[in-house]
Every structure is written in C-alpha cells, then in structure tokens.
C-alpha cells in the first residue's frame, strides 16, 4: 500500500464525514441539532474502529464499544446489507447518556463487512422522569428515559416502522424526535453508500488496508510523542460538587499517570465509588477525556483515531465513578468529563510543562419546560451555556466560550425570546472573576432570565463548591452560581444542580465558573494588568490582588 493512496483515502473519508455532518445539521429538526450541533457522524472499520475523528470529539471513542456489542449480539452472519441498528443504551452500547441516540449501518463489499457508518445525536426527549430526559437527580438509568439496546430499525433494506413508533411513543417531543431520527438515518445511509462506492472504485482490499495504515499511523505518531516524555509517575485529583442527589457529599476523581518504556498508563482506580446520582461515567467517556488531554497536551495537530488506543493503557476499576455498574444513572456525564479533563491535564503538565493549564469552567445545561408555549412553538427550551478556560503557560484563559470537550453554539437571545415566553434581562461579564495569575483565567458571565409564563426549570452544573483551581501559585477562578427567586424575599443561591417549578414573572440568574490563574499574580505584566482594568475585566480594587502581599 503506497503512502499516496492512503492519504487520498484518508482525505476522502474526512470529506465524507464533513459531508454527513453538513447534511445532518442542515436537515435536523430540533434546535439541539440545528443550533447547538450536538451530534457526530463517522466512518468505522470492520471492527468498529474509528478512522477520522468528528468535530464533536467526545463521541469518537463510543463507536468502538457500540459496534463491538452489535458484533457480539448478532455475529457477522446476523448482520446483513441494508441493516441499520439503533441504540441509546449507556451500558449495552457505551453511549454517553440515554438522550444520545446512535444509528449504525454495516457496509458490505464482496459479501463481507468491510466497514460501518455511524451517527450519534442528542434527542430532545426520550422519556424518563423529567422533560428533556436529562435529569439532575435520577438514581437509576430507568429514570433517564426509554432504553434501547442495539436493535435493528432497518432490516435488509426494509424500514421497521414498529420500532420507530415504539421509540417515538416514549418521547414527550414525538415530532422533533421522529424528524431528527429520519434525518439521522438518512445521513447514516449516505455514509454507507459513499464507502461502498469507494470500495467499488479502489477495491475493498485497498480500502481495508488503507484503514489499517491510517490507524497505525496515528498510533505511531502518538507513541513517539509519548516516548519523548520523561519517564515517571504523577498523580492529580479533583472534586465534583456532588452527585445531584446527596448534595452535601463531594465526589473525588483521581488519576495516576505512569510513563514507562514508551507506554502511558492512566489509572483512575483511586476515584470514588459509583454515585447514586447521574454523574457516573461510562469508560468510553473516560477514554474521550484521556485522548483529548493527551492530544491537547502533546500535539494539538494530531488526528485522533482508534489506532491511538495501542499507545495508551487505561485502568478503570469496576463500580467506581469512572466505570459504574448498571443501572447507575449517567445523564450528567458532561460536567464530570470536564472535571476529569482538568485532573488529567494537571497530572500531564508535570510531564510537559509547556502546555500546563489551570482549571477551566464547565458548560452547564438549562432546560425550561413551558406550561403554555408560544402558539405553534415547542414547549421545551434547552440551552448549553459555556464557561471559560484557565490560564496556562504563556497564555491567558479565554472567556465566554465552550471549554475543552464541549463545543456547542449558543442560541441567540433574539431567537430565544422570539420562540419562547422568556426574556433575557442581562448578559454581562463579571469583573474580577478570572483567577489571578501571571496568566489570568477567563472570566465568568452572568445571565438574568425572566419567565413570562409558568415553567419547570432545571439547571445542571458543577464547580459551585469547588471552583476551577489555579496552578503554580495562580489563584482559583470564581465558582459557578445559580440565584433563584431573584428580587423576592425568597431569593437564594442553590447548592448545585436543581429543579424548580416557577411562576410567570419569576427571575433567576446564572453565573458560569471562571478559569483558574497560572503563575504568581504579582508576576503579571503590568501592561496586561492595566489593559484588564481598562477593559473592565479587573476592577481597580481587584487589581490590588496582583500586588505582592
């Protein structure tokens, strides 16, 4: 196999993934597809190994588990051309949580499976105890929605409407879910069709060999980067506010990284036992955090694929927060991912200080279920709000952005107010929140909501008890906050993720967490500090914290 054909096929798969992605986001129905783009499209080899990573990276390691399980369940003989499988099962399919629904289509050439096409997308509602399905305080996965183990929804080229009806019947948003499912299946089939065409043209052996070479290339690249690190062992740990059920009890995430003989081992065994609340992680998510951190730290230009698994060993002890046992709930995985990335990056920085970064904020999810929606509009408002990066070696943290593994678009205020009976009264930066340091952390923002109708409001968020930490003498960033019943005698701050029934006229204020600072604050360049004051990022009083005490 020559290097040029391999590169041509890699480019072709990359452009195919791009094509699938674009089709889906233009054709999806729900705002979560269309505005937030919470989905991924991929091409996998015959064993379910991912070839080119999608923009929504943290889905990438899921597919290997999902296809592995499909192969286990059906065997190569039970999978036929024209099949499409569906699953949203965190334990059977490795999906991040029940709201994420996957479709997978096998690709055949010369009578054999040569590849798979796959997609994962968040669904507006799959049932469960709360509207939107992603509960902040579920205690079993059965609370989080209807569970679909890997089953066929297309059987040898024939659509099975019964399966679709069963799924849709379990949703509070049947129209949106059916529309998104239809678009998603179409995209999955497009992917399969295009790979079939590549096999016809280049020969299925050439395609298969190229996939193997692409996987090996990524493995070799990562191996040589790891081999260049100093050998050693470093640990780090961090605390999650709580599990959403027992709000007083924090949860520890811990990693020990060992680099030896060119192999990196990530051992998470010292993390806390699995939680009652929905903050448990599937191993696929732990893998996403490890590979994201490794690539970000060692070579942001590396292209992830499943070949990289050969360069790394990941240890997750059973019945811990990073490898829970069913039916432990998982719907709040994203903020746990973001905390885990902070912890991994802190330990990795000891091996590679040039890419050290302080703790970052975490995105939070807000869902508002309206009792009386605007005529003709959905009653479900769902937003993912970003936070800020920590400062790092030689770099201030970015404010007001989606950090690390999350990268969703914000829904514009003008769209929200036009579609839902809501008003955003304020959307402002909060001065002095960025962790002080030689390199400052990114700032918090604040948003005040006013409800114009009665609604159920759920916010899932982290980093309110344990703010993003500073590094190398840098200060912590400000913690996340949620003020409810604002302007009334009952005004209060929640202890974390929560759900409220609110009346028309109620106001609440969200504040995102800020990034931690890196390096001693008194080492900050005076010109940079003066600029921060001029821009209102730091107040005159706040600037005093940058003086040597």
């Amino acid at each position: 196999m020559d290097a040029i054909t391999i590169q041509i096929l890699r480019n072709k798969i990359a452009s195919l993934v791009d094509e699938m992605h674009y089709h889906f986001y233009r054709s999806g129905y729900s705002t979560i597809i269309r505005e937030s783009r919470d989905f991924s499209c991929v091409i996998l080899d015959k064993d379910g190994r991912l070839i080119v990573s999608p923009p929504m990276f943290f889905h990438a390691p899921v597919y290997r588990h999902l296809v592995g399980r499909i192969l286990e369940l059906y065997g190569k003989d039970g999978i036929k051309p024209g099949d499409v499988f569906v699953s949203n099962h965190p334990y059977e399919g490795g999906l991040p949580h029940v709201s994420d629904m996957a479709f997978v289509a096998p690709i055949f050439a010369d009578g054999k499976i040569v590849a798979f096409s796959g997609t994962i997308a968040h669904k507006a509602d799959v049932g469960g105890t709360v509207p939107g399905s992603t509960s902040a305080n579920a205690t079993e996965m059965f609370h989080e929605g209807v569970l679909i183990p890997p089953i066929k929804i297309w059987d040898e080229g024939r659509f099975l409407p019964d399966v679709e009806r069963l799924i849709v019947a379990n949703s509070r948003q049947p129209v949106l879910v059916r529309g998104d499912m239809g678009a998603q299946i179409a995209v999955t089939q497009t992917g399969a069709k295009r790979v079939t065409e590549l096999c016809e043209r280049f020969g299925s052996n050439v395609v298969t060999e190229a996939f193997a070479a692409i996987l090996k290339g990524a493995a070799d690249e990562l191996k040589s980067a790891i081999a260049a690190l100093p050998e050693g062992e470093y640990s780090a740990e961090g605390l999650l506010d709580n599990d959403g059920v027992d709000v007083e009890r924090s949860i520890r995430l811990a990693v020990t990284i060992t680099v030896k003989n060119g192999l990196a081992t990530f051992d998470f065994s010292k993390s806390d036992p699995q939680a009652r609340g929905p903050v448990n992680l599937r191993p696929s998510m732990v893998e996403a955090c490890v590979f994201y951190s490794l690539i970000g730290c060692l070579g942001p230009r590396f292209h992830f694929n499943d070949g990289m698994r050969d360069a790394v060993r990941i240890v997750v002890a059973p019945r811990t927060i990073v490898n829970a046992e069913a039916p432990a709930p998982v719907s709040n995985y994203q903020m746990v991912n973001l905390k885990l990335v902070d912890v991994i990056l802190e330990a990795l920085a000891r091996f590679h200080p040039e890419r050290a970064i302080a703790g970052s904020g975490a995105s939070s999810a807000l869902s508002i279920s309206w009792l009386r929606p605007r005529p003709g509009q959905s009653n479900m408002q769902y937003e993912i709000l970003g936070s800020a990066y920590g400062g790092g070696m030689g770099h201030d943290g970015c404010s007001a952005t989606a950090a690390h593994l999350s990268n969703l678009h914000i829904t514009p205020i003008e769209i929200l107010e036009s579609e839902y009976p809501v008003r955003i009264n304020r959307f402002e930066m909060v001065p002095d929140t960025g962790g002080a340091g030689k390199w400052r952390g990114g700032l918090s923002f604040q948003r005040e909501y006013e409800l114009l109708e009665d609604a159920t409001v759920i916010r899932r968020f982290d980093k309110t008890r344990f703010p993003p930490s500073g590094l190398e003498e840098g200060k912590d960033g400000a913690r996340a906050r949620w003020l409810v019943h604002v302007g009334t005698k009952d005004e209060m701050e929640t202890k974390g993720s929560a759900r409220f029934e609110m009346k028309a006229g109620a106001r609440f204020v969200l504040q995102s967490a800020a990034g931690g600072g890196y390096g001693a604050p008194d080492k900050r360049d005076p010109a940079a500090l003066a600029r921060d004051v001029a821009e209102g990022y730091v107040t005159a009083a706040g600037a005093a914290h940058y003086q040597k005490s």
Binding site: I4, I8, H23, E221, G296, T401, N407, F427
Partner: protein, 698 residues
Amino acid sequence: MKDAKSRYRLGVDVGGTHTDLVLLDTMSGELLVEKVSSTPSNPALGVLNGVAKFVARGIPADAIEFFAHGTTITTNALLEMRGAKVGVLITKGYRAVQEIQAQARDGNLFDYFYSKPTPIVPQSLTREIPERSDYLGNVLLPLDRDAVRNAARQLHEAGAESIAVCYLFSFMNPEHEEETRRIIQAEIPGAQVSISSEVLPRIREWARLSTTLLNAYLEPVLVRYIDHLNKGLDEVGVGTQQRFLMQSNGGVMPFSAAIAGGRTVHTLLSGPAAGAQASAYLNEKEATSGLVTLDMGGTSADIAFIEGGMPLEVTEGVIARRQIDVPALDMTTISAGGGSLAWIDGAGFLTVGPQSAGAAPGPACYGRGGTRPAVTDADVVCGYLNPNYFLGGSQTLDVEASRNAIKTEIADKLGISVLEAAAGVRRIVDMRMADEVRVFAAKRGVDLSTFTLLPFGGAGAVHAAAVAEELGMKRLLVPPRPGAFSALGLLCTDVVHDYIRSELRPLADVSPEHADEIFRVLEKKASEELVAEGMKVEDAMFSRELDLRYTGQGYELRTPLDGLFNGRLDAKAMVAARDRFDERHAQIHGHAAKERSVEVVSYRLRLRVAVPKYVPTLGVAPAKPRAVAEAIKGTRTIYFDGRTPVESNVYERDGLDIGIVLNGPAVIEQFDATTIVPPTWSARVDHYHNLILERGNA
C-alpha cells in the same frame, strides 16, 4: 452605434500581486488587456498606472464611458487589521454578547490555548445605552437620549473615527438606532455611523453586531480609497458618469452608494465574485446544464457552482474568523494553489497545504531561495509546465531546484522516485480539489454529472482535466484569457442591491397583505436609494424572496417568489411559496416535511439595474483553417502517472484557429496560462475562442 466619445469600457481587478485591466472597444468588439504590479501601500496608484498604459497606447481617457472596479482593499485592511478606530453603542446590560460570540470555538478543538480574534471594538470603546425592544418591536424601555449624547462625546474624545450601533431587536423596530444616529451626527458633525438595522436588519444579535462592526471598521478605509481613486481618474480625464464597485453578491454598486455608507461589508467577499459572475454571464448556454468554476491561483482554489445561468448564493459567511452575514456568491476556498507546499506529516503521510510558499520565496523553481516543494514544482518536474515559457517567458523556472526539493522533502522520506513523488503531490492536490467540489455539490444538492468544469486563474487549466476525471465530468471549458478572467467579469455585471427585513412568525399567521406591505416598504426604500445614486427607478427590476424554515429548525432557506404572483401577493402565492420551500428543502437536504408547519424568518428584496455589458463577439472560422500539424510548436515529455514518459505535442494558443480539433496528449501554452489535454481527451476551439476539452479522442 457608439460614438467615439463613449467608445470604451474598462474593468480593473486589483489582486494581491497583480492588477489586471481589460478594456473593451465597443466599436470593434476588441478586448485590450494590461497587467501591472499592484501597489498595496496606495492601491489607487496601480489602477491609475494601468489606465496610463492604455492612454500611452493611444486610448483617449475621456472616451472611457464605463468603469467597473474589483478591489480587495477592505479584505486586505481586515486581514492586516488596518481599519478605523471604532466605538460601539449597545443595549445596556448585554456586554457579554460580543465576548461570547458564537460560543463554539473555531480552529483546532484540541488546542486549549485558544484565543478569539482581536475584537474590532474593545469593551473600553463600548458604551451601554438604556433602551430595549421586545421580539415584536414593542418598546419596553425608551431610548435614553442623554446617554447616547454622552457616549458619542466620550467615544469621539477617545479618538473613535467610526461608530457602530447595534441594539437588541432593532431589526423589528429600527427607530432607536435611527434616532441614535441622528443624535450622534448632531453631536459630532460628519461622524460615520453604521447602524445594524440598516447594515443587516436580520435576527441573531451576534451575527448582526459582527457584520455592523466590520462595516464601521472598514467604511472609512473604503470611502477614503474611493475618494482618492475618483480624484485620480478625474485628473487623468476618465469621463465616466458612473463608476462601479464589485460586491460579494456578484453585482456592482455605484461609487456613490459606497460613499453613502452602510454597504462597505458587501465588498468584503467580492474578490472571487467577478470570475464566477463572468462564468455565469459569458457561458449562459453552458450554464443551463451547470458549470463548476475552478479559480486556481497561487495560494488557494476558489470553487463555485452556476446553475441556469446564475451563481448559487449564501447569506452567512466568515472572513478572517469573523462572522459576516451578507449575501455572497456561494464559493468554497481550499488551500490548493500553485504555491501550496507539500510535506510529510507526523504520521508519515504526504500532505499538501495549507501552508503556501507565497510569492516570496515562492516554489523552489522560482529560484528565490525556496527549498520546500510546492505544487508548481511537481507540475514542472512532471513536465506540465514549460520552464522557459512561464508568464510568456518573462520568468524562467529552475527544474533542478524543483527536483531537489521534492527529492529531499518527499521522495527520500517515502523511499520512492522523484517522479513518483511529484505525481503523488499532484494526485493529492487534484483529488482534494475534486473532493471539495463533491462535498460542496452534496451540500448544495447539485448533480455534477451534466456539469462543465470551467478553470481559470494561473494554474486552473493545468489541473482541471485531472479534477474533472476524478469527478467523472466529461467536459472542460477554458476561456480565452484565463488570467484576466476576473477583470473581464467586471464588464459582465449588473447593479445589484439586497434588502432584508427579519420578522420571525409562523407562515400561516402571515397574511398576504402583511407580507406585501413589508415588501412594498423595502421597495420604497430601495427606490429612494436608487434615485439618490443617480439611477432611474424605471430601469430597476425587483425580486422578492422569503427566508423560510420548518418550525424548530435553526437555519432558513431562501425561497424566491418569482413567478408566484402578479402585482400583489395573494393567498395562492403564499401556498405556492410553501410548496416551493418543500421542494427546495428536498433538493438541498434530501427530504421535505410537507406536514410540518413553516416559519417566515426574513423578507428579502433584490433590486437589479441592468448595466451595459460586454457581449462576446462570435468569431468566424477562417476559410482555410491552419492544419493541426502546423500549429505544433514542439513536443515535451510529460509523466502523467509519474512513471511513463509520454511525448506530447505543444501548441501556442493564439495559433489555434476557430474550429480546430486536436487530440491529447497535448499542452496548449499562452501568456497567462497553460492548458493540459491528457491522452484520452480532445480539445477544440469554439466560436468564442474558448477551448473545449472533452473526454475521448476526436
């Protein structure tokens, strides 16, 4: 018949390195071409130098009746951050909008040392004004006029040269922004003010703010330039009544409209528009079955589709990482140019681009110190380019330098021969262009099988046949002067102005009368502006469009209303519009949902005023055409597959008469371009002097 006083029309296209000028003699139909160096520090100078060259050739300047200009002055000012110092007024309480922007990161998602682009306006030049409207345009909080006055004064004192205003929901009710502009202009006479309800009255606050900021940032640059150029042209004695500027929507606007303000952003993506426009206009007959244009220059390739004689358009764009939501020709650009560098990446794969050798040092073969191989080096090594006839022989290429660069950087590392490596570089870059075309076609619901590929730019015709083969396309059209094609495009455009009004509402709730009223208000505004620009309303053609989407979707589709109504919109037209939307949705996204409710997001009006255009003259085949054999000026060895030497005939393009037919393998050389005819292709010259390449020997 034209009189001698108004005999000439001039198109001037300013590029990064060269300024191309095309002068049309309307009496003879003849085209004169000039190429001069661009003068980035004072771009008007290059334009005037070019005009002077025509004058020196005996063209009287006062006989130039028409002047159309394509310039990247605003684009370059943005790329180099040389715009004006801008202050902005926003609704009080919303400073985070300009910080969070889209929230999602662009670029490499693994790089946690991420930064947003430097803000056009920092927070220190942002002023919050108490005022607020709701989503229907009802005023919730009246405008605080004193706050506007204070803000204007403060920003003026802080040195702001240009002021932007963007309030929430101003697209529903522009009164606060308009009043704000009046107050600012009373406070600071002569102030340049860009208001969002005029620049982009469209829903989504960040896109609108970003577009308005770009307008405010670049408007003083453009106005200054036009002023300068106008004076220069007057001094030379160019006698045109109206002078025109190229826009990203494929049309032109008069200089007077650019100076009047609010339209500067429409020039930002205009660079590649003229070429696509020329393709559409000059080859309308071809375009009915569809054209793909491939403009391959030094650093990138621009690709556009033309269907039914019209280029496709988009309404959202990004330039230099900044959001700009104005109508633009739908182009995609990839880093595949003659200067794109080839290298072995960390995983051991051969990769081309995105880095470019640029003009300096340039590809290794330029002999300007470049040691890294570029696409042009691969072209030279494989024999596609004549090292002694680059730019008509004004530059010679160093083949040895190309070979060495490819050997050291690629062949030795992969353990293959220099020729195989060079052919590999070409294969990768050609396939990338083809893949880009294919994805782009899929995105837009375009069926390529009946399309013709139209290459231009310096390198387009060198690579086009390979790209066409990869795409299964059977036909190429190479215009007579591929290098000056964009400048020619300037003589092929109409005045086009776009107007928009957002109002998010279920289509079922929009009465035909209401929609008609919105369009009439837009038409009135358009007519008034047209008159102010010195044109006649009688000459204008209006076309209406609705931006529609299924309820709950986040992106809308432009749905033209042409042919659906006569005079006034009625209920039947609204139903037909809905059907047309379903059809377009199915065409572009592969499915429609006829049972789902539809929302109107925006109303669009396009005004078009026809401008006298270049009409290509039909050539006549000579009575006794020269034989093909006579046109051969030599032979050259080309390695199409990197292994097999193939003796190919070399032709001079000017020596090929209308009607001539030749078979590949062949090379057709001309001053500004080289066309490759692969072994299984044939070429002929049509009556417009286009080269038509077709698969299969004649």
